[in-house]
Symmetry: C2
């Protein structure tokens, strides 16, 4: 805290909340429903909520992409799904198959988990090849590709190196976390990725984001998108702050 300043981090965030428009916030949110026991109705509801609140996208389980794309067709809400999720430990072939299949079913953006095990094993050539194949497949089918680096299982140095490889190969977004790891996203994660990517890839913060203050702190740190299962609550909290 600089001498003479009475502002707390909380104050700064609230100030930022007041500067954002509702549209600034919701246009960054990818409303997400990936818990394995979420029924079809919960996914349909999340799609409807995404339309209602004007969220950027709705991130749905791979087996329900078609369902979601039917509901979201003709709206501004993008159909988002995942691949190699959440462990990232399937063969590259499987991730590419999942990505292509998702696109066929109507997905416009696919969040793919990197092979964390290969990163941890220092197999950087393998990692580079995997990311390169994913970029090629995503371009071919016309999907936005987000690479999930799962910061909760990597060191900062690993996140930096991986982010560097990803931007060199043309990944569209670095996504911080799956939400199924040992912890969710932190402001620090976003800053580390922002420094490593230097604006050459956008950043999706995800994992444990439940409240508007957290979403805004992550946006202030550099997040272009917010992946959260609490999109509706966050929009509601935002509105309450602005009243």
């Amino acid at each position: 805290m600089p001498e003479g300043s009475n502002l707390t981090v909380g104050d700064l965030i609230l100030e930022e909340v007041r500067k954002l428009t509702y549209r600034d916030l919701v246009s960054r949110i990818e409303h997400t429903v990936l818990r394995p026991n979420a029924g079809v109705e919960a996914v349909r509801r999340a799609c409807m909520e995404s339309i209602e609140h004007g969220f950027h996208g709705c991130c749905v389980p791979p087996w329900l992409v078609k369902e979601a794309s039917e509901i979201l067709s003709g709206t501004q809400v993008r159909v988002v799904t995942v691949a190699g999720f959440p462990l990232g430990n399937v063969p590259v072939k499987t991730k590419v198959f999942e990505l292509r299949e998702a696109a066929v079913q109507g997905a416009q953006e696919v969040d793919v988990v990197v092979n964390v095990s290969a990163v941890r094993s220092g197999m950087w050539d393998y990692v580079r090849d995997e990311v390169s194949e994913l970029v090629d497949a995503a371009r071919e089918v016309g999907c936005v590709l987000k690479l999930i680096v799962e910061t909760s299982l990597l060191s900062d140095d690993e996140v930096r190196r991986l982010s560097g490889i990803a931007v060199d190969l043309g990944v569209d977004f670095i996504k911080t976390n799956t939400g199924f790891g040992p912890r969710g996203v932190t402001v620090h994660d976003v800053i580390v990725i922002k420094e490593a990517t230097q604006g050459r890839a956008r950043i999706k913060a995800a994992g444990g984001i439940r409240h508007v203050e957290d979403a805004v702190a992550l946006i202030m740190a550099g997040a272009d998108r917010i992946g959260t299962s609490s999109g509706v609550e966050i929009a509601r909290e935002f509105t309450a702050y602005r009243q």
Copy 2:
């Protein structure tokens, strides 16, 4: 506890431990290494440990099946892997692709997570079709098929009905849990599945099994296999009890 008996459940389990041979125990264990940040060396080590201790199999991440099958080739240890893991929320097509790919790489047994979301949504026709396609694919490639029902996300009634469908369709094993759900396996889970399957499918207990007493209690309840990342410790504890 029956009147006049001084035996505790703990005593009964210890009595059972003393009745089992080392071979009885280890021949039921599938030594498992599926945490996403386990490096290649950890998987190689688990394979070597499986050979050394005479475990039934070694359950490895899908991307390392080839590696494991090379290490285990010419031994009694079976190559085991997973598909649709751990969320079960990918299309049937993807699960079938993963199963086939696993077999091509050398897997002899594949543990596939059922579509928990479909079960919870009461979509029993979908579930039946999924399991049927998995059975067909497993037969075609000559793999043992274990259906993971993830008891931690289902009611007992759902587990019973699902187990019934699985045995009717010819699934080889019902596996209780992924180890990534809200809780691990319980003795109750095994008893519920045993009653529902009536010996027409075998049972693999998995999820949170760390000690010999728990492994033996699950075997007493009806488990034919024990999936655990603590195979070596359990074998060691068994030996200590028998000394």
